[in-house]
């Protein structure tokens, strides 16, 4: 089990109903964590349409969960 903070942005935050949450998860990687949160919040996005970041840097879906880290799921961007 790892305790992490998860950040949500844009429509993902609207779906989650919160901008961030602290959760404990037994997922082995970020992909697994997203699957758990997707079923809890009903996210419409499949993981392959999102990017993921750990502690302010882009990460890979296969990366493991580090205790105390901050994880962000990043829906398609629309700046500019």
């Amino acid at each position: 089990m790892a305790a992490v903070t998860v950040l949500y942005f844009a429509s993902l935050r609207d779906a989650a109903g919160v901008a961030s949450e602290r959760i404990e998860s037994d997922a082995i990687d970020l992909q697994g964590l997203f699957a758990q949160l997707q079923s809890r919040h009903g996210f419409a996005w499949p993981a392959d349409r999102l990017r993921v970041a750990i502690d302010g840097e882009f990460a890979h879906w296969e990366d493991g969960l580090r205790e105390g880290s901050e994880i962000a799921f990043i829906p398609p961007v629309s700046g500019g």
Binding site: A10, A72, I74, P76, V77, G79
Partner: protein, 145 residues
């Protein structure tokens, strides 16, 4: 000096432009993104930009630094607004100075293309009918706006 910045207040163009002046630079290209009053057939009253600030600042800086290495340019900067914007307001500014115009144009266009596709910033439009919508363009539509 940071070459990429997020700003929650209106972007002031003149000091940005002046910061790119250099005696060896004969060419300057700039791009501005303005808030339009419509998008995909709907009337837009205003919009809100949200950013994942920590990562947006890093990724934006990487983009401009990459352009500094990749193109034969003198200086480059980009500023992106966050927060509430009105129609006509400046949402993003890119400026590039170079000895010659080809590199200035190419680098300027490269920077805005990369910023739009890579920097974690999201646009929420507010429509005449009272509803709002987040824009999450599919990768296939990238490069259109």
């Amino acid at each position: 000096m940071k070459r990429f910045q997020l700003s929650d207040t209106p972007i002031r163009i003149e000091p940005l432009r002046d910061s790119l002046c250099h005696q060896t630079a004969g060419a300057f290209a700039s791009f501005e993104g303005w808030v339009r009053d419509h998008n995909e057939g709907r009337v837009v009253l205003g919009l809100h930009y949200e950013a994942y600030v920590a990562l947006a600042e890093k990724e934006g800086e990487r983009i401009v630094e990459e352009a500094m290495r990749r193109f034969d340019i003198v200086e480059a900067r980009c500023v992106h607004r966050i927060g509430e914007l009105r129609i006509g307001e400046l949402a993003v500014w890119v400026g590039v100075s170079a000895a010659h115009r080809g590199a200035a144009f190419d680098a300027c266009r490269h920077i805005i293309d990369e910023v739009k596709s890579r920097v974690p910033i999201w646009k929420q439009e507010r429509y005449r009918e009272g509803d709002m919508g987040w824009l999450h363009p599919a990768a296939a539509a990238a490069g259109k706006d």
